[in-house]
């Protein structure tokens, strides 16, 4: 996964925020249009808001009520030329505050009338707002009637009214709802995707060749179970392909090797030296078949399940198995353990690599060469020879016209890659060659030059 790829939670959260913003915008427009088109309703809200603001100036004094105009409203209600009028009085008609003249007072309820809890009256239709009304406020001592008249609304109280309306009835509740939705969505997605993460972690360890080693689909949500079944089906197909490839290479190998065996045995009966040359050519052909089938099998092998490798024991076995061949070719072989450690790997592949290197040393050194197999320190093995070299197989030194040369080391190199290891080939000053294969944990990966 790259940094450019957002997580599903991020995508969903972004979309929720985007669509919520769209919904809020729609709601905002609806509120504004509705309020703007209904003057009486707008006036109602304006009177109510302004009355509450004015009521902030009420205070209790010696069992009674006094009033002082709030500082924030002084500019609006104390100007000589103003369009805003206020009158604060009790039910008995005692006025605590007023900036009204006689004309203005006529827009309010007469002082001798017991006021209702709220009243509003449109003084003129349309905008700007021309409205008067009052609100009965109880500060614990006695109900106080706050009356307001707005004539023209130069201070644009209506904007503040709309802003309060949007804040109180849209922004606050929708924001709270949005937070809850975002939290719930994030939690839900994270929990729902947990099985996906668990499944993804298991996928690399599936062995396609083992039909019983598949991802469990029980107790998974339907969609994830469907995906998991699809992965299992893909593994089945990969397993079938790997089996087919293995069977194919095995069949090819069988079809070629049996005639080769017959040819070998027939040739042995012929004393002519040319028969020996043909035998040698047949051996070369056999080597090519073996390397090609090994390469094909490498790509189809079960590369998933690793096992602890006892390198010392394995190398000892390989040296034991190949020693008769080494001595039959007039050379010698020895084994040295420098403290090999166990490491995880594919035993058959590691053994194949070691056999390949020893075989390489046998084939490409001169007569009476001494071969030494070293293991350790750590997870590393080396095959060395003391020269009499007749052209060690090295990919970089292989003439392009010779397709066979290089295959053996290509196989070993591929095995090293599979194990995250490194193959190195070094010419020794003595004229010999040292080929090493270092695996993870050997501590030598960083110091060995890359091949």
């Amino acid at each position: 996964m790259t940094k450019e790829q957002p997580s599903l939670v991020t995508i969903v959260v972004r979309r929720i925020i985007f669509y919520s913003a769209l919904a809020m915008l729609g709601q905002f427009l609806a509120v504004v249009i509705q309020a703007w088109s209904d003057d009486l309703q707008l006036g109602h809200m304006a009177i109510e808001q302004e009355s509450f603001s004015l009521a902030q100036g009420l205070s209790r004094v010696d069992g009674g009520v006094s009033y002082s105009l709030p500082r924030s409203l002084q500019a609006r209600y104390r100007q000589e030329e103003h369009d805003y009028f206020a009158r604060i009085r009790n039910r008995s008609g005692v006025v605590l505050f007023s900036n009204c003249d006689r004309e203005c007072a006529e827009r309010f309820l007469p002082l001798n009338i017991d006021p209702p809890n709220f009243w509003v009256r449109q003084l003129a239709p349309g905008k700007p707002l021309n409205v008067a009304g009052g609100l009965l406020v109880d500060r614990g001592v006695e109900p106080i009637l706050v009356e307001v008249a707005i004539l023209g609304d130069k201070d644009h109280i209506v904007n503040s009214v709309l802003a309060h309306e949007i804040k109180d009835h849209m922004a606050t509740p929708m924001s709270l709802l949005l937070l809850v939705v975002l939290f719930a969505t994030t939690l839900s997605i994270t929990r729902a995707l947990k099985p996906v993460a668990q499944t993804a972690a298991l996928v690399p360890s599936i062995n396609p060749l083992n039909k019983n080693a598949r991802l469990a689909t029980e107790e998974l949500p339907l969609e994830i179970a469907t995906l998991t079944r699809a992965i299992n089906a893909a593994c089945d197909k990969v397993g079938e392909l790997m089996r087919a490839q293995r069977d194919f290479t095995s069949a090819i190998s069988h079809e070629v090797r049996t005639p080769l065996a017959i040819a070998h045995l027939e040739l042995e009966k012929i004393a002519d030296p040319r028969a020996r040359k043909v035998e040698s050519d047949l051996e070369t052909l056999n080597q090519l078949v073996e390397q090609l089938t090994t390469l094909a099998r490498l790509e189809g092998a079960d590369l998933i399940s690793m096992q602890p490798i006892d390198l010392r024991h394995m190398a000892e076995d390989v040296v034991s198995a190949m020693a008769p061949l080494v001595y039959a070719s007039g050379k010698t072989i020895e084994f040295v353990d420098n403290g090999a450690s166990e490491f995880p790997g594919h035993p058959t592949l590691i053994e194949n690599a070691l056999r390949n290197l020893v075989d390489n040393a046998i084939r490409h050194t001169g007569a009476r060469a001494d071969i030494r197999v070293e293991v350790g320190p750590g997870a590393v093995f080396c095959v060395c020879d003391n020269g009499m070299n007749s052209g060690l197989e090295q990919p970089n030194a292989v003439p392009p016209s010779s397709p066979r040369k290089g295959l053996g080391l290509k196989i070993v190199n591929r095995i090293a890659e599979i194990h995250g290891g490194r193959l190195t080939v070094n010419k020794l000053t003595t004229g010999g060659t040292r080929v090493c294969l270092a695996f993870r944990g050997s501590g030598q990966l960083s110091v060995l030059p890359t091949m």
Binding site: H254, L265, E290, E316, V319, P324, T348
Partner: protein, 235 residues
């Protein structure tokens, strides 16, 4: 080694191979070694043959027309057949070799092979069988009578001490193969005395000295770090 004379001469082998030409060539090689052989081409024929005839060695190809040779090997072992089995096969991969040995085969010879290699493997298996009918082991011109302990080279008595004889017997039973040093150590420890750290080297050194004056047709190689290899000298 293994000229067919001596006690291996009356050995009887069963060859299970479906390729007619390869079968003919192997029969020829086996007869050349002085052994008798019955040859069949299928699993069914092999099963019938083993049921009625006691063989000293079974040579089984894996790719048979009516079944897998590995299943045949498993069936033999399941039925209690203890005869050594040499698998002849084109399946060369290491894991396939392991499969073959796990199935109960005693050795595994990958095609193509030459006569010498084939007969050497046969002889090794005939020698290694602990209940082999022959009490005489042969390698080159070297002979060891397991029953009497008499070791001769070209009919000359070598005069081996018990430890040297024990080492030689193990090496001859595994002639052509590397015998790991610890196996020899284990064998020598059965003499009861405390085993010195260089007891094996000492026994090998003495054995070499007794073999050297004679032309025994074998060479005793030291595989440093692993063990020893008794092999026929190249003619």
């Amino acid at each position: 080694m293994g000229d067919g004379h001596g006690s291996q001469a009356r050995m009887r082998l069963l060859l299970v191979e479906d390729s007619a030409r390869l079968r003919e060539l192997l029969i020829e090689a086996i007869h050349g070694a002085g052994w008798r052989v019955d040859a069949v081409a299928t699993v069914g024929e092999a099963t019938e043959a083993v049921a009625v005839t006691p063989y000293d060695l079974l040579l089984v190809d894996l790719g048979l027309p009516d079944g897998d040779g590995l299943d045949l090997v498993r069936a033999f072992r399941r039925d209690g057949v203890k005869t050594p089995i040499l698998v002849l096969t084109a399946r060369a991969a290491i894991d396939e070799r392991i499969l073959g040995l796990d199935a109960g085969a005693d050795d595994y010879l990958v095609k193509p092979f030459n006569n010498g290699e084939f007969l050497a493997r046969c002889r090794a298996l005939l020698r290694r069988a602990p209940d082999t009918k022959t009490p005489i082991l042969l390698a080159g011109r070297l002979s060891l009578d397991v029953a009497t302990g008499a070791a001769t080279c070209a009919n000359v008595d070598l005069g081996l001490a018990p430890r040297e004889r024990m080492v030689l017997e193990i090496l001859m039973r595994d002639a052509g193969r590397v015998v790991q040093k610890r196996k020899l150590e284990h064998a020598l420890s059965e003499f009861g005395d405390e085993l010195s750290s260089n007891a094996v080297e000492l026994a090998i050194s003495r054995l070499r000295k007794k073999l050297e004056p004679h032309d025994c047709g074998v060479s005793l190689e030291t595989i440093r770090g692993v063990g020893y290899l008794l092999r026929e000298a190249t003619p």
